[in-house]
């Protein structure tokens, strides 16, 4: 209560909202209720469905698995266990290729249709925060907005300096409406997950951050959060990329994440709204994450819709369900701004994917690049106030010092600079490469300094 009052007063003196680009949302699927895809005849479970170390298969060919049976586990700290989404028989453990050229191992399961629950699945008994953390290790939940960061790790923070629990329901990517449907259909599990986390962690206030164009969701969620005075709905401007971590933290609280720092350095924790809902659902029934909602859209899709699919359903099966009206030329997994293009029809939807876009040739060619006219559009739309054009130049001439000076490591890879560029320069691509390079260099420098100090 007091926390929310303080938040309101502080928002009066808030620094300006961060920049971005006006990108048409085209969320045509937002008003349709979620459809439910029937059990596919095969599910493919890659061993990396999260940020972090790859899991090792815990089952062998011919094994029987049930819903919630552990199929992938990694000893590394940054990893999330993978659980079977169906009951059935492991038919194959095979190699699969990511579209970036990386390879991975996948467990292929043929469902038997029984969908029997694994014996180990039971409703978690939550008494304190530590028991919540232990339970979440059995949930298979990762950041469901697209990042895929293991949720149990994200929950494992020191709450001494945390005074905001932010829920990211901005969903700023065009076309995608899966988080929106989560709010409209499961507000109670969202609130259950959120209030449990607030109770156990002791964080005094939470903000449910929604972009201002989603007026129905704002009104709907406002009615649902009324019961809990700690929770309020925060309205964000309708501007891409509101859902990016730095932007959301800044626009909701006025704080910023320091360079090289973590979101907790700003005194906040940040979770996607569907992740919150899945936490709530897991606390109720104890079934690990087995299904998720994805937005299927694109001009080649016969029936654009939000559909709940079993994790590991191949893209081809989903398109058989949704219909394919035109020759497909490009498949995008995730949103059109940050998603990656997929070139394999048999690649599955994994747990952090929130969209599947299939486009015909129209408008999907590589844009023709022309000379930079120094219009400053990239600079004036970068939410982090970076200089994408200068970063691109410095990257091309291999100037590591300049890249560090330009703070290329702050890039969130949101794609705004490439989107707005009238010359269609590959700014995001260059900045992304520069970002990884600077991050690695700063990490190495930090380690070297520590070694010297030790």
């Amino acid at each position: 209560m007091l926390g929310q009052l303080e938040h309101r007063i502080r928002s009066l003196f808030r620094p300006r909202k961060l920049r971005g680009a006006d990108i048409p949302h085209d969320k045509v699927t937002a008003d349709q209720a979620t459809t439910y895809m029937p059990l596919p005849d095969v599910v493919v479970l890659p061993m990396q469905q999260h940020i972090g170390a790859k899991c090792q298969p815990q089952v062998a060919k011919g094994d029987h698995v049930d819903v919630g049976t552990l199929v992938g586990h990694a000893e590394a700290r940054t990893a999330a266990d993978i659980f079977s989404s169906v009951s059935g028989t492991v038919t194959e453990i095979r190699k699969i290729f990511y579209s970036n050229g990386d390879t991975d191992v996948a467990v292929v399961v043929e469902p038997d249709g029984a969908q029997a629950l694994d014996e180990g699945v039971k409703t978690p008994v939550i008494t304190d925060y530590q028991s919540l953390l232990d339970a979440m290790k059995r949930s298979g939940i990762v950041g469901l907005g697209g990042a895929g960061f293991p949720t149990d790790l994200k929950l494992d923070v020191d709450f001494a300096n945390i005074d905001y629990w932010l829920v990211n329901a901005a969903e700023c990517e065009p076309y995608i409406s899966s988080d929106y449907r989560e709010m409209m259909e499961h507000p109670d599990t969202i609130m259950h997950g959120l209030t449990t986390c607030l109770d156990l962690s002791g964080v005094k206030r939470a903000l449910l951050c929604i972009e201002e164009d989603k007026t129905e969701a704002i009104a709907f969620m406002r009615a649902h959060v009324e019961k809990d005075p700690r929770v309020k709905v925060e309205v964000l401007p309708e501007r891409y990329p509101q859902g990016a971590g730095h932007v959301l933290v800044h626009n909701a609280t006025g704080r910023h994440i320091p360079r090289g720092g973590h979101v907790t350095d700003a005194g906040v924790v940040l979770f996607n709204v569907t992740t919150m809902s899945m936490i709530g659902k897991f606390l109720q029934d104890g079934i690990p994450l087995t299904k998720r909602r994805i937005t299927v859209m694109g001009d080649a899709v016969a029936h654009p819709q939000n559909v709940e699919v079993f994790i590991g359903t191949p893209i081809r099966k989903i398109m058989e369900f949704c219909g394919l009206a035109k020759d497909a030329r490009k498949i995008i997994v995730g949103g059109p701004m940050m998603g990656y293009s997929q070139i394999d029809w048999d690649y599955p939807i994994v747990r952090q994917n929130n969209g599947l876009l299939v486009f015909s040739e129209m408008g999907m060619d590589k844009p023709r690049t022309t000379a930079c006219i120094r219009c400053g559009a990239c600079i004036n739309s970068c939410p982090m106030k970076l200089y994408p054009r200068e970063i691109q130049n410095a990257y091309r001439r291999g100037d590591a010092a300049a890249l560090d000076r330009l703070a290329a490591d702050l890039c969130m890879k949101c794609g705004t600079c490439s989107y707005v560029c009238p010359a269609k320069q590959p700014l995001t691509q260059a900045t992304r490469l520069a970002c990884d390079q600077v991050k690695a260099a700063r990490k190495a420098a930090k380690r070297a300094a520590q070694r010297k100090g030790a």
Partner: protein, 345 residues
Amino acid sequence: MASPDAARSDADRFDASHTDQPLILFPAPQIFSSITTRRVMGTVIAALVPSLVAAIAFFGTDALLVVAVAVASSVLFEYLWCRLRKLPNTIGDLSAVVTGMLIAFNVPATLPPYMVVVGSFVAIVLVKELFGGIGHNFANPAIVARIVLSVSFPVAMTTYSAPNVVLSGVDAVSSATPLAPLAPSLAPVELLLGSHMGVLGETSALAIVAGLAILLVTRTITWHVPVTYIGAVFAFSLLAGRDPIAQILSGGLLLGAVFMATDYTTSPVTARGKVVFALGLAVITCLIRFWGNMNEGVAYSILLMNLLVPYIDAHMADVPIGVGREKRRWVPLSRSGQKGDGADA
């Protein structure tokens, strides 16, 4: 639970042949705004049309001829340059058309066509292409063309023809620009409409303001340069005891503030930089107009400030979010690394 029947009954619309084509692999982002360089230049041309109409209305077919010669010769010089240097042909981006129109707008309607061609040569070849083409010119090409022409052909550049429509009784045929010391004072309404002496594009304030509106509404430019420049000239005129309205409406101020000083390549990128740039323009313009020995100072002020843009950019840069106070002096920009644009056109 919603019934999936609606979708499933159409599942036969899944035609496996639709999956036969190879799929495109492309890094994010997968979509792009429809704004291209050509569209930006097209918008600027559209914004110049009101002034073109006004020029033809006041100066007749002479004006049309000058514009036609300037545009045609500018495009031709760019085309020839690309052919001779075996570079990709860039006339499709329409920037040469904009330059040509601006050159025409900066000369009197009576200027002989060969002088217009000289202006186009200076702008396109000397200022733009020799420095690397679009995006690399150090100064506004049309401004340099105007300066070179007025230094080379001072008489022809100041021989203004009388407008076809004269609103007041003042005999304007022999008079120079309204800023000249002996010029008869004109009513603001004439300055506003443009029925007075001057170069093609600068006489009609209303037409330029219409162009400004087009540029602002389409978000082609921001308000910072034109509003700061004009506002500062207004303020300085008041301080210096001159008639601020006359100072703003006459001479090349509006044309320069709206179309020339807002050129992307030769103006700063950040909002702060743009304001500093426009203040500098206003100071130089007023110094030349009030105490210099020339009547007109806009062209020189834009040229001089163009040269300072790299320094303004470097010192008026935005500090990235999260860098905070660790960098007091944030100087990210250098012009050294401008080679290799990656243009694959």
